[in-house]
C-alpha cells in the first residue's frame, strides 16, 4: 500500500503548519462572545500601548556601550550556564505526548524528527525573543537591534540546551548529578570569591577583573558567541547590524550542525522529559495555578487536625498541610520574611514618616506579593471544586476554610517581621502593635478578593495562555477591579482609624480599634461574597477547559 518514506518530511512540515494555525486559532477563539471580545480588546490595547511606549518613549534611560560590552557577555554566559545546569538534572528534549504517540512510531527518521522539533522550538523562541526585545530595548541602539540580538541569543540558548540535553541523554543519572554538583560548587565558589574581593578591595576591582577575564584567551573563547550578540545590540549602522547578525546566524547554523551530528538515540530521555513536563502541566491544569507546577517533595511539618469550626477547620488544615508539604512555598515564606524585615527596617530607620513607610512596605511586599504567590485556596483548587461542593459544610464555612491558610501564613510572616522591628525600634511599638492587629484582617480582605475574582472568572493555566490576549485582558481587568476594591476598603479603614485617632486625642489604640472594626466588617462581607460565588460556581460550565 502507500507509505513512501520521502513523504514523511512533507508530513512533518504540514504538521508544523497545522500546529501554528491551531495556536493562532486558539488566540482568536470565542471572539464572537461579547465578554471574550472585550477582554481581547483590553489585552491588545494594553500590549499595543506597551509597544508604543517602548518604541516612542523608551529613550529616557540608556546604558553606556562600554558597560554593555563589559557586563553583557558574562551575564549572558551565566544565563547560558544556568540553563545548561538545568539540563543536567533533566536531560532530554521534551516532545509533546501527541508527538511521541504519533511521530515516534511513524516512518520518520530520527534526524528528521529532531529537525522538526528544532524548528518548532525555534518558532517559540523567536516569539519569546520579540517580547524579550521589547523588554531590553533600553540596552540597545533601537528595537531592530534588540530584536536581532534577542533572536540570535534565544536560538543559541535553545540549541545549546538541546546539545547538552542530547549529549547527556545516554549518561548515567549519578554521573550527571556529580557533574551538576561540581559545576554548582565552582559557580558558588567563583561568586563567593568575587563577592569577597569586591567587598575588600578597591571599588573598581570587579570591572578590572572582568576586563582581564574578557581579554584572556579562555575568556575570549568562552564569551565569543555572547560578544557577537552584544555587538548586534550595539551596531550603530545598518551594514554593521547586518554583518554582526550574519555572524550570529553562522553560529546558530554551527550549533544546529553539531546538534544533528551528535546523532544520539534520544527517545528514552525525551519520553522521560516529556513525562516530567506533562506532569507539571497536569498539576497546573488540575490546580489552576502556575505555582503548582513543582511537585510536593517532602512531607514537611506535620500539623495536628484543627477544631471543626463548622467545617472550616479541616479545610484550613488541608490547605495549610499542602502549603507545608511544598518546600518551595516554605522557602518562599522564609525569603519573604527576610525581604520584608530588611525593607521595613531600612524604611523605618530614618525620617518623620518612618512608621508609615515601614507599614506600607510591609503591607505591599507581604500582603500583595505573597498574596499572589501563595495560592493555597480556591485558586489552587480548581480540580477540587466538585468535591468541595459535595461536602456537608455551609458555603460560608467552605469560603472561610479555603481562604484561611494563605491569610494565616502571610500574617505569620508579618508578625515575625513586626517582632524584629519592635526589637530594633522599641519606640515604634504602639504603631507596630496596631499594624499587627490589622494585618490579618487586611490579608483576609485581599485573599478574599483574589478568590472572589477567581470564582467569578476562573482561569486554568495551560501552555496556550502564554501570549493570549484574552488572558492578558482578563488579568488586567480583574487585577484593576481587585486592587481598586482593596484600596477603597483599606482607605476606609485608614480614614476611620485616623478619625478615631484625632477625635480621641491621639489614641493609637482607639485608631487601631476603629480601623480594625471597618476591616472586620469588610472581611465578613468579602467572605460572604466568596461563599455566594462558590455557590454560584457551575462546575459544568465554569471549569475552563
Amino acid at each position: 500500500m502507500p507509505s513512501p518514506p520521502h513523504s514523511a518530511s512533507r508530513g512533518l512540515l504540514l504538521l508544523y503548519g497545522l500546529l501554528f494555525k491551531g495556536r493562532v486559532r486558539r488566540m482568536f477563539r470565542g471572539l464572537g462572545r461579547p465578554k471574550n471580545f472585550l477582554l481581547f480588546l483590553v489585552g491588545v490595547s494594553a500590549f499595543a500601548g506597551y509597544v508604543a511606549l517602548v518604541c516612542f518613549g523608551g529613550a529616557a534611560f540608556r546604558v553606556e556601550a562600554s558597560a554593555i560590552r563589559l557586563y553583557g557577555p558574562p551575564a549572558m554566559a551565566l544565563f547560558f550556564l544556568l540553563s545548561a545546569l538545568g539540563s543536567l538534572n533533566y536531560p532530554g528534549i521534551p516532545f509533546l505526548p501527541a508527538e511521541i504517540e504519533l511521530l515516534f512510531p511513524a516512518p520518520v527518521s530520527r534526524r528528521a524528527l529532531l529537525l522538526y522539533k528544532v524548528l518548532s522550538a525555534a518558532t517559540a523562541l523567536v516569539v519569546a525573543a520579540g517580547f524579550m526585545a521589547l523588554t531590553f530595548t533600553w540596552l540597545s541602539v533601537n528595537l531592530a537591534n534588540a530584536f536581532a540580538a534577542s533572536v540570535i541569543f534565544m536560538l543559541l540558548l535553545g540549541l545549546g540546551s538541546q546539545i547538552v540535553s542530547l549529549a547527556l541523554a545516554g549518561t548515567h543519572e549519578r554521573l550527571r548529578a556529580r557533574v551538576g554538583r561540581a559545576a554548582l560548587l565552582v559557580a558558588v565558589l567563583a561568586l563567593t570569591g568575587g563577592a569577597i574581593i569586591t567587598v575588600n578591595q578597591a571599588p573598581n576591582l570587579p570591572a578590572d577583573v572582568l576586563r582581564a577575564a574578557l581579554e584572556s584567551v579562555p575568556g575570549r573563547v568562552a564569551l565569543f558567541p555572547f560578544g557577537i550578540v552584544t555587538e548586534i545590540l550595539l551596531a550603530g549602522t545598518a551594514p554593521g547590524l547586518l554583518a554582526w547578525t550574519g555572524a550570529g546566524t553562522l553560529l546558530v547554523v554551527l550549533a544546529l550542525w553539531v546538534l544533528i551530528r551528535l546523532d544520539v538515540d534520544y527517545r528514552e530521555a525525551s519520553i522521560a522529559a516529556s513525562q516530567r513536563v506533562q506532569e507539571m502541566m497536569d498539576r497546573m491544569r488540575r490546580k489552576g495555578s502556575v505555582f503548582a507546577a513543582e511537585r510536593s517533595r517532602g512531607k514537611g511539618v506535620k500539623l495536628r487536625m484543627f477544631p471543626r469550626w463548622g467545617g472550616a477547620g479541616p479545610l484550613f488544615w488541608r490547605q495549610a498541610t499542602s502549603l507545608l508539604h511544598n518546600a518551595r512555598a516554605i522557602a518562599l515564606v522564609v525569603l519573604g520574611a527576610l525581604v520584608i524585615i530588611v525593607l521595613a527596617y531600612h524604611s523605618a530607620t530614618e525620617g518623620e514618616w518612618a512608621p508609615l513607610e515601614a507599614t506600607l512596605t510591609l503591607t505591599f511586599f507581604s500582603t500583595f506579593v505573597l498574596g499572589m504567590m501563595l495560592q493555597y485556596d480556591f485558586r489552587g483548587d480548581l480540580g477540587a471544586v466538585e468535591i468541595l461542593r459535595t461536602l456537608p459544610i455551609r458555603p460560608a464555612a467552605v469560603a472561610a476554610g479555603q481562604i484561611l491558610a494563605p491569610t494565616a501564613f502571610i500574617s505569620l510572616i508579618q508578625w515575625v517581621a513586626l517582632t524584629v522591628l519592635v526589637v530594633l525600634r522599641p519606640d515604634l511599638w504602639p504603631w507596630l502593635l496596631a499594624a499587627g492587629l490589622a494585618a490579618p484582617l487586611l490579608n483576609a480582605v485581599l485573599i478574599g478578593m483574589e478568590n472572589l475574582a477567581f470564582l467569578v472568572y476562573p482561569v486554568r493555566m495551560t501552555p496556550g495562555t502564554a501570549f493570549d490576549f484574552q488572558h492578558m485582558g482578563r488579568s488586567l481587568l480583574m487585577g484593576a477591579v481587585k486592587y481598586i476594591a482593596v484600596s477603597i476598603i483599606g482607605g476606609a479603614a485608614f480614614a476611620a482609624g485616623a478619625a478615631a485617632y484625632v477625635l480621641t486625642g491621639r489614641s493609637i489604640l482607639a485608631g487601631g480599634v476603629a480601623a480594625s472594626t471597618v476591616l472586620t466588617a469588610a472581611v465578613v462581607s468579602v467572605t460572604y461574597l466568596v461563599s455566594r460565588a462558590f455557590l454560584a460556581f457551575d462546575v459544568s460550565s465554569d471549569l475552563p477547559a
Binding site: 491551531g22 501527541a98 504517540e101 530520527r110 477547559a545
Partner: protein, 249 residues
C-alpha cells in the same frame, strides 16, 4: 497467508535504569492473525508494544516487521505498522480532520478525503470532523487514534487496551474492525485486561508475567500444555493459573 510472519521478536530485553521490564521475550505474529497480549499490571505489555512500535529503544534483542529490521531500517519497518496507545493524546489544537490529513501526509496515503470519510463514518466521528481534539471525550479520542492508525492500511497493528473509554456500540465496532483488519491480512496485537475480549477475538495468546513469557500459543495448545486444568478451562482460569504459578516461582 497465515504463515507469513509479519512480526518477529527475538530475545527482547528492556531495562529502565536497573529495573528489568522485559526479559528475553520471543514471539511471532503471522499475517492475518490476532495475538492477545495479557498479563497483570507491570508485566511489561505496554513496554513491549512501545518497543515494537519504535517509541522506546530496546536494551537487547531483535525486532523484524514484515521482514524489515526495526533497528537497521526503522523508517521501512515503521511504514508498515500502526500503534494505538491505551490513553491517546492527540494534538489539542488540531481538528479531527487535520489529524487525518497530517497522518496521510506522513505515510504518503493518496485520496485522503475518501479514506478519511469512510473511517470517520465507521467510527461515528463525521459530526466531529471539524472539532478540536481538546473538545473530544476520551472515547472519541480513542476512535480518532484508531482512525489515524487504520488510515494507511498497516500490515501490523498494535492496540494497547483498545476498548478503554468506548461505549457499547464503539466496542462492537472496534471488535468488528479488528477482525476486518485481520481478514485484510494485517497482523494484530491486542493488549488487554479484558480476558473475555481476548478469548473472543484473538486466535493466539501470549501471557506475560514480570517481563517474562509464561505461556503462548492457541488456547487449545495452552490448555493441552497445562495438565492441572480441565480441557474447557477459560482464559481467565489459565491466566490465574499461569500468573500464580509465576508468583510462586
Amino acid at each position: 497467508m497465515g504463515c507469513v510472519s509479519m512480526l518477529n521478536v527475538e530475545g527482547l530485553t528492556k531495562f529502565y535504569g536497573e529495573t528489568e521490564a522485559v526479559r528475553d521475550l520471543s514471539f511471532r505474529v503471522d499475517a492475518g492473525r490476532i495475538l492477545g497480549l495479557v498479563g497483570p499490571n507491570g508485566a511489561g505489555k505496554t513496554t513491549t508494544l512501545r518497543i515494537v512500535s519504535g517509541i522506546l529503544p530496546e536494551t537487547r534483542g531483535r525486532i523484524e516487521i514484515g521482514g524489515q529490521d526495526l533497528k537497521s531500517n526503522p523508517v521501512g519497518a515503521k511504514s508498515l505498522l500502526a500503534y494505538v496507545p491505551d490513553m491517546p493524546n492527540p494534538f489539542d489544537n488540531l481538528t479531527v480532520m487535520e489529524h487525518l490529513r497530517f497522518t496521510a501526509a506522513v505515510y504518503g496515503v493518496p485520496d485522503v478525503e475518501s479514506r478519511a470519510a469512510r473511517l470517520l463514518d465507521e467510527f461515528e466521528l463525521t459530526p466531529k470532523r471539524d472539532a478540536l481534539a481538546s473538545e473530544l471525550s476520551r472515547g472519541m479520542k480513542q476512535k480518532l487514534a484508531i482512525s489515524c492508525a487504520y488510515l494507511h492500511d498497516p500490515k501490523l497493528i498494535l492496540l494497547d487496551e483498545p476498548l478503554t473509554g468506548l461505549d457499547p456500540r464503539g466496542i462492537r465496532t472496534m471488535i468488528d474492525s479488528i477482525r476486518e483488519q485481520a481478514r485484510r491480512g494485517a497482523a494484530v496485537v491486542v493488549s488487554s485486561h479484558l480476558l473475555e475480549l481476548v478469548e473472543k477475538v484473538c486466535e493466539t495468546v501470549l501471557i506475560l508475567h514480570r517481563g517474562r513469557k509464561v505461556l503462548d500459543g492457541t488456547l487449545d495448545e495452552i490448555r493441552a500444555a497445562i495438565t492441572e486444568l480441565q480441557k474447557e478451562a477459560s482464559l481467565e482460569q489459565i491466566f490465574f493459573h499461569a500468573t500464580e504459578e509465576g508468583q510462586r516461582a
